[in-house]
Amino acid sequence: MKPPAFAYYAPKRIDDTLRMLHEFVREQNLDVKLLAGGQSLVPLLNMRLAHPEVIVDLNPLEPQLNYIRRDGDMLRIGALTRHYVLRTNPEILQHCPMLADAAGLIGHAAILTRGTIGGSLVHADPAAELPLVFAMLRGMVTLQSAQSSRVIDARDFFLSYLTTRVEPDEILTEVALPIMPARSGQAIEEFSMRHGDFALVAAAAQVTLAADASWQGVRLGLGGVAPTPADCSHLLTPLVGKRPTWDELREALRPIEDEIDPQGDIHASAAYRKELAHTLAYRAIERAIRHTGSAPPEQ
């Protein structure tokens, strides 16, 4: 399981990388892959499922693209920020704790030290944690090419299984996530066959309460149930303005199984994934509410 041959380049400045990409992709029509953490790409190379003609290594850009900054009501995260940094960064723990939790669920330590947030979003595995969190929170990404820079909303970013809107000559350079509003709680729940595996199904929730502890806002996303992260927030918007009991929450989530159309595979059937979606969505909302610090509603 050795990678096929490719030409390798590792420019040290982002402008050079972008110019090189433009040259290879637009002028020479070469098949180019960008190498960030390598935790998704290198297995594909080793299995010879990918045969790029050129690999452009983004890692020399780490000094420029590894940052976490608060910018008003957004957190701006450089695309080459490693997963393990997300787990313990104080800004993230305070303003977007779900991202820290999600990073911890990705996999084992050796994966977290190399994998990057940009790489995870571009790889767009529908069962992956960071794409789910990004989609649920309706974050934004900056995509740069030699000629332009554009910002795309999460709702437009994921096209299908392992496919995004990123053009072959573009680099994802920054991820922006809204900071968690006051009186909010976030939680991510997943079910996998073994500890640290890809999730069969994952649920990410954010609940925002009003001063009287009624629901002011709610977001719910599911991973592993569709080709892209699925937004199921609309199932819960009828509960906004209320103080729903746990039974009312369970009832509101009941139609979730009809909303989604997961694929079955050797690990789990579609029917079971639907059941898991319901269970995990419930658990995620319940935990998010507990994280608001407010007393849970009566039964």
């Binding site: 399981m1 050795k2 990678p3 096929p4 041959a5 490719f6 030409a7 390798y8 380049y9 590792a10 050079d16 110019r19 090189m20 040259e23 290879f24 020479q28 070469l30 190498l35 390598g38 935790q39 290198v42 297995p43 190379l45 080793n46 299995m47 003609e53 050129v54 690999i55 290594d57 890692n59 393990y84 996999g107 084992h108 330590a109 050796a110 994966i111 030290t113 190399r114 073994r194 500890h195 640290g196």
Partner: protein
Amino acid sequence: MGILAVIIMESQTVFYELKVNGKTYRVDDVEPRMLLADVLRDVLFLTGTHLGCEHGVCGACTVLLDGLPARSCLMLGIQAQGYEITTVEGLAPDEEHLSVLQDAFWEEHGLQCGFCTSGILTTMSWFLKQNPTPTRAEIREALSGNLCRCTGYQNIVTAVERAAAKMKAAS
């Protein structure tokens, strides 16, 4: 930029330096696609790092880069320039002695075939720096990225506990 007469595939070979276990090695005339694990094993003859799956799951190939664990089967050798790489061969204090962790594995029968052991020793030596007083559950969690097919893990967990206790007593 001027590099545009690009030679694709076949004959691109590269050279670079790698710092491994405190020593600097020159890697000459290799293809850029050569994985770090293969460079360590077949160019530098440091065969203590093992390949069990070549897709990042089993952990047998785990080395430390600037003290942090990484799968050497998921990196190109050329990407490891500039890091301080530690392999299993670099864990013992000298030729005559084992590290506290290695010794604990010996005492606790923490290995059978030994194939997974290298990757576990590097991972656990990092882990104990992060968490010097781990519970068994925490050890199991930290260990879960390294597969073992022989021991059933139990003695490995005990060995790490033992090493942690010894290190704590010494400090």
